[in-house]
Amino acid sequence: MTYIPSADDLEVITREVWTSFLDGDPGGLLPGGDGVGAERVTGCVHLSGAYTGSIVLQCSAPAARDAAAALFSMQPGDVTSTEIIDAIGELANMVGGNVKSMLPGPSTLSLPAVVHGQLAVPGAQVVREVTLVWRNEPLVVSLWQQAAQAA
C-alpha cells in the first residue's frame, strides 16, 4: 500500500523549514486558522514519476512579505516582489523536497513556480492539506495528486 504523507507530516516538515530559516522557534508556526484569502502568494513544485502531483504553499501577502524579509534579513517595508517570489519559491522547494522524500519514488521535482494569487493545478486534486498561522497570518500547505493516479 502506498503511503501518502499525512496533514501532520506536512505540518512537521513546514515547521522544520520555518524554524530553520525564518523563526528559529518551533512555536512560531501554529495550527489552525481560517485559510488564505484572495490576496495571497502561492508557491508550487510539481512531482512527476512514481508519484505525480504537486506541493502547494499558499500564504497571505503580508506573510509572504514577512517570510521574504526574514530570509533576506531585510525590513518588511523594503521587500520587493522579486524577493517575495524568490523566498516563496525556495520555501515551497524545501517543503516540497521533503514531502517528496516520503512519497513513492523515484520522482522528479520541478523548479518552483510562484504567483501572486491562486495557482491552478489542472487535473489534480488535493489529497492532504494543513492550515497554519504564522505571525497572525494564514498559511496553507497542500499535497495534490493527478486525478488519474489518485483513482
Binding site: S20, D86, N93, G97, N98
Partner: protein, 120 residues
C-alpha cells in the same frame, strides 16, 4: 563557491561560509559556476544545489569531475533532493558530501569539518 538559483539561499549559505572564514563567490546555476571556474576562480569548496535552471547541480558535478584541473575542488550538494537514489547518484558522480535542506549552520560546519576543509 555557493551555487543556487535562489538568491535567498545564496545569501544564507554565503553568510554561513563567511562566518566560517571563507571568501565566497556565488553563481545562480551550474553554467555560470563553470564560467567562473573557466575564468580562473578556483574555490576550495563548492556548495551545489541540485534543481537549478540552465545547468543543474548533478550536471555541474559531472562537468567538474571530468576536468583534471578542477579535481581539487571539494563538492558538497546542498539540496532538497533527499531520495536515497538521488544521494547515491550525486556521490557516484563525484560529490563528496550531501546536505539536505533545511539545514542549520552547525550542520554545514560539521560537514565541512568532516571533509577536512574546516578545522575545529
Amino acid at each position: 563557491m555557493v551555487i543556487d538559483d535562489s538568491s535567498a539561499m545564496r545569501l544564507i549559505l554565503g553568510r554561513i561560509m563567511r562566518g566560517l572564514g571563507f571568501d565566497v563567490v556565488e553563481a545562480p546555476n551550474g553554467a555560470e559556476a563553470i564560467a567562473r571556474l573557466e575564468s580562473g576562480s578556483m574555490p576550495e569548496i563548492a556548495l551545489v544545489d541540485w534543481n537549478m535552471p540552465v545547468m543543474d547541480g548533478l550536471a555541474f558535478v559531472n562537468a567538474v569531475r571530468k576536468e583534471e584541473k578542477w579535481r581539487q575542488i571539494t563538492l558538497m550538494m546542498v539540496t532538497t533532493e533527499s531520495e536515497q537514489s538521488q544521494i547515491v547518484r550525486a556521490l557516484a558522480a563525484g560529490a563528496h558530501e550531501y546536505v539536505i535542506k533545511p539545514f542549520t549552520p552547525d550542520a554545514i560546519a560539521d560537514k565541512l569539518a568532516l571533509l577536512g576543509v574546516l578545522a575545529y
